[in-house]
Symmetry: C2
Subunit: 488 residues, 2 copies
């Protein structure tokens, strides 16, 4: 009998369960050509005794090997290495026993996308100030998934799979067209809609189709960094235009247009990222006029439209009398859960058709059950009810945060209360350096998601925190500031 | 009192429910400036009587208007148009009452991705021969979603959202690294893995990083069309190399390498799309040698590895002694459900890092609950058990289809039985024109998903059909052929 003890080493300190260690060892031995096809294995009892493990462990290992076709189990419990082994000419393999680590040895140039973001391990933080995310404890995600399961369980396979869902399911697009009409005054048909894998994909698709002209793209300064990165990756010349409390400086855009060809203006009209300011009515109207006169496309990234509190929201530019040159972008990730990546793009039909073809190349399309489940939630008003509820809660949290900041940090910070959205933009006076503050907080296991060193500011996402959590967080910041002042 | 009957028209032929018609009409009137902020509405009883609808319908309409903040309901049931209306300077809007349709008026050039695929409406088909998809009636998707709900319901918000999941959740990558080692002999760490939104995204990302060199890319002829489209979109020069029953003609690749710089060879080693042939062992070894000698990258699209029946599967090229220049692509869409879009890419760490950054620009990342739910299913062996079961069923279906084709269409077709996968490649003799056949079948409401006019062939996805469905489908094809022969 084959000396199995020589090929099976069990290390109880490994995370891999013992039964899998046995299975993996046997597979490796077959791969190395040490165990030949047809070799009989010990009975489970014998093997258990040999390896000094419970017999159930060996049964589990054999079950696994059998599931993967490495062994054949014949009725009266004879077990042997399968005759049909997935082997690729084992002789060749024995030449070099050790497979080299699959790392960094690619000696062929590839396009570099940019500096690598090495995420810090989350385990090292106890708490996180996000950049404006919903409180998933309030989200109707459970209802969404219940609907998903119902839809996926319907057994009408064939006709369903025949559908071309790259543009998004027809059901979701019809419901969404109604929803956008009712909530935003955007009157479109389902042909003006492309369902995307989140708002970012809408930005990416829009930029790919528009920015390749190598004419300039105008963005705010500061701007949503992930939009800038997309334009940079496409080699589109970026022109930064200052932001003030009324949003993008539209007069500056006019002067730029007089001098140079502008192809795209990227604008976040509500609760701008990161500054949270809202574009004023006058500037909206002027921007629309400029877009006609100078023939540029407006990418209107309205990711945050659904959340407005004290003041009335403005209708999107896309709902106005425009000239077929607005790409409107929105998302349900801020409504449901950042993990649920359903966004959309509203644009003229010919643009949507091309964006759909590009999207097909990227990932074929989205999850049709998830899309239809969302359609059901929209149709049954569950999304509206959730938003109404969430708005009340977030409104309170915003006001609570403003109060706490004023009380605890009043002398160190300045901020204005945003009319909506999920985050506040906190600027520090020059006595406090935001980078130093973030480092001090990181030592206390609190991580800040979005800081801006130039503006000496950070985004405080209040929506995801309950009032007590807000209090504790502001208190931690206060302590860190006191610590900083003492040290400096 | 305002003459509401003049602004509310109910059309019972519309699909829009009556209560929503009422709500939409009121919203429009507010938007047009006809109904001013503060205007009182009729009580629900009065309005119901005026419009001749049930009072519950009006209550639903008011609830909806209230949910959207268009009206204010004061305790004793006084209802009026909200004072805080989302209006953008209504005077300006009245100039042009009719919002133009949002269509085709974009007069700015954009990059065209390609000819538009106009999908035929599915309603017009009763039945569909797909190009090789799993039978979702067998899929463990319900178990996946149950796990998803459990994971999403855990209320530890903050630390979770702090994670950077663009590369895929750490949990799924660790489980997948184990799974790939056990099932495919690919020994990697989780840093060699990028979780993508389906295999197509892996192709897209790989091609973006590699094909921009403007040196040639080798593909099979025929090839998976969506891969060719990606390379075309990136302006990579495509060189087509013939396929025979052993797969890509590797000698031809060698001769090409001697003449010109090749940067990428895209290969589908198992059950090639569309022809279903498998690359032979000898050619695999030679391809690896060539990749070293001529310094090209192999994109190994092994979308179908999990399904092999009669003959032994070969281990992937990526499991062999290679030179850090293989991008290995796989997917769980064929295991679970085409709607569940989880694929992966295995590559050297520096390549994975850049692919991750590019993926971040495209869509930030995937659904982390879905990924963790899949990790749980892999860990608990549910995926292995499902595959074992599904393989048996699909094996039977493959053999049943081969038998049916031989019996019913033997004199008109030629095909070889694929060693695995989910589809058979059926070539028609020159007496039958595949295009004509497809049109005849379409008249009988049967649609074929993948036909190739040059090869006069189509892919018959057998995995998704039960045996009786296979019989009925083959019978329909037989009848259509008889019809064709009679007419010609």
């Amino acid at each position: 009998m084959f000396p199995f003890e020589t090929i099976i080493t069990i290390d109880r300190n490994l995370k891999l369960p013992v039964y899998r260690q046995i299975a993996v060892n046997i597979i490796q031995a077959v791969r190395n050509g040490v165990l030949k096809p047809g070799t009989p294995l010990l009975s489970t009892r014998e093997m258990a005794s040999l390896l000094n493990v419970h017999r159930k462990t060996v049964i589990a290992a054999y079950d696994e090997l059998n599931a993967q076709d490495w062994i054949t189990i014949i009725p009266r419990k004879q077990v042997h290495i399968s005759e049909k082994i997935p082997l690729l000419n084992p002789q060749k393999w024995e030449k070099e026993k050790q497979i080299p680590p699959y790392q960094n040895s690619l000696n062929i140039p590839f396009v570099e996308v940019g500096p690598i973001t090495t995420p810090q391990p989350t385990d090292s933080f106890h708490w996180f100030i996000d950049d404006g995310r919903p409180d998933i404890r309030l989200s109707p995600i459970s209802s969404l998934l219940k609907t998903y399961r119902l839809l996926a369980a319907r057994k009408s396979v064939s006709k369903k799979t025949a559908q071309d869902n790259t543009q998004g399911t027809i059901r979701l697009r019809i419901e969404l067209a109604n929803y956008l009409s009712e909530t935003r005054g955007i009157n479109i048909s389902e042909e003006n809609l492309l369902i995307t894998h989140g708002a970012q994909m809408s930005i990416y698709l829009g930029a790919c189709l528009l920015a390749a002209q190598k004419t300039s793209v105008i963005v705010g300064k500061p701007n949503y960094p992930m939009a800038n990165k997309v334009f940079n990756q496409l080699n589109a010349p970026l022109v930064e235009v200052a932001m003030d409390s009324d949003g993008l400086d539209v007069d500056r855009i006019e002067r730029l247009c007089q001098k140079t060809k502008i192809s795209v203006v990227y604008v976040i009209p509500h609760h701008h990222y990161p500054t949270t300011v809202t574009l004023s009515v006058e500037r909206r109207i002027k921007l629309l006029e400029l877009s006609k006169r100078y023939n540029f496309v407006i990418i209107e990234d309205d990711y945050d439209y659904d959340y407005h509190y004290s003041s009335s929201p403005y209708l999107p530019l896309a709902s106005a009398q425009h000239y077929g040159n607005i790409i409107y972008i929105g998302s349900f990730s801020k409504v449901l859960d950042p993990a649920v990546r359903i966004g959309f793009m509203v644009a003229p039909t010919n643009f949507i058709a091309q964006a759909t073809e590009l999207r097909r190349l990227i990932d074929i399309g989205g999850d049709m059950y998830m899309q239809d489940a969302l359609a059901v939630l929209i149709q049954e008003r569950e999304i509206s009810r959730h938003l109404k509820k969430a708005k009340k809660v977030y409104h309170q949290r915003r006001d609570r945060l403003a109060h706490l900041l004023q009380q605890a940090l009043g002398s160190h910070v300045s901020f204005s209360i945003p009319s909506g959205g999920m985050a506040m933009w906190i600027r520090f006076h020059s006595t406090i350096d935001i980078q130093e503050l973030a480092e001090t907080l990181a030592k206390n296991k609190l991580k800040i998601g979005c800081i801006d060193k130039t503006e000496n500011a950070f985004r405080f996402g209040f929506a995801s925190m309950e009032e007590q959590e807000l209090e504790e967080t502001v208190d931690q910041i206060k302590q860190a500031i006191e610590q900083l002042i003492q040290t400096n």
